[in-house]
Symmetry: C2
Subunit: 194 residues, 2 copies
DNA sequence: GGGGTTCTTGACCGTACGGTCAAGAAATTC
DNA sequence: GAATTTCTTGACCGTACGGTCAAGAACCCC
């Protein structure tokens, strides 16, 4: 979609729309949250929405992309200076938990995106990247003999499953501390890998 | 909702509607799949739908309840005669994978249900039961010294996370064999617990 | 085969939604 | 300060949806 250039003011509006819409989507669901609801909640006219986005779907995809980028950036930043694969895995898990702790509502959006065909491909693209990162570390760990031999992709998927689920159930629903949940996730995953 | 008595023929129709709707919801999403689409796909009039269900929402909740019951029944049946907690956990995992292998599309419905406030409570009720089952086995395992000390609920959640994610990504998306995926899940979970 | 019940039809209704657009306000540029 | 571009308004449009209902078909029981 050909996106026109925006001024600084315009970029801010765009961010405002995305942030507010993300919160509403996470709380009430994508479909039940109407465009009218989003703009009226922000006190602006409907035209504003369609000035910045071509459609409601496009907005959702942009939110999704932003979120995935943010999460990945947090992970990369956390493990940047760590050479040991096991430690990298641990730091990655902790960074993910931390990030989700600060962006609780986005877990809901990822979850929803997986359930609709038109959003699933976009979600998958981001997940493939996260998976590839994890797989690399697992392979390194196998080479070093710290991880039992097994299909690295399956092991990596298992870790993602633990992280996703604990984020949802313990951090998002039960409001537990991301640091403590991360301790449990790290212990479980490292045990599961060895 | 006061449900009237149904004849054998009526019960069959009801099942037919639920099965077909579940398949469509899983494939296209709950909201994008209209009632008109469901009935026309079955070659019946719209009145049939509203004879058996009060609303689209109620249908979804019934599908959800049925699915959760089916899964739990499969798990209970699998572990019925096994006294050892570790083996019970293993058999429970295998039974879950097996069941999801035969009901792939339902994983999507569970996923979606979690994202909308009006369905989340119903989903949660079923999950609490599954969690309680798992917690019991984990506690038994701790008593027996086969599982490291830790919050049983967190460990149980971690297992559910592994199962859910591997079902989605490996069985549903990649079409892998439930038995093999179960092997990996069991290995990862038992490692994570010990 | 008549009378009652269960089930089916599909046109119809009200509404709420995503999206458009002509008109104009603000900001920016010269 | 006029011209131009960026942004905003909100009434409006077409449509598709969930749900209703009067009418009737199918089935069942005596």
């Amino acid at each position: 979609m050909e996106r026109r250039e925006l001024t600084a003011r315009g970029k801010e509006r765009r961010q405002q729309l995305m942030a507010y819409a993300a919160a509403r989507f996470a709380e009430g669901g994508f479909h039940p949250t109407s465009v009218a609801e989003i703009v009226s909640g922000l006190g602006v006219g409907k035209g504003v929405f369609y000035w910045y986005f071509d459609s409601k779907d496009e907005l959702f995809l942009e939110i999704l992309k932003d979120a995935q980028q943010g999460l990945r950036r947090a992970q990369q930043h956390a493990i940047a200076d760590e050479p040991d694969p096991m430690r990298r895995i641990e730091l990655g898990i902790r960074a993910s938990m931390q990030w989700f702790g600060e962006n609780r509502h986005l877990a809901n959006l990822f979850q929803f995106a997986a359930t609709e065909e038109r959003f699933a491909p976009a979600l998958r693209r981001g997940q493939e990247i996260a998976l590839a990162d994890a797989v690399k570390h697992v392979k390194d760990g196998i080479v070093q003999g710290e991880i039992r031999d097994g299909e690295p992709e399956v092991l990596a998927h298992a870790m993602l499953g633990v992280i996703n689920h604990l984020v949802r159930e313990l951090i998002h629903v039960r409001g537990e501390d991301p640091g403590e949940v991360a301790d449990a996730a790290v212990a479980f995953c490292l045990g599961g890998l060895s």
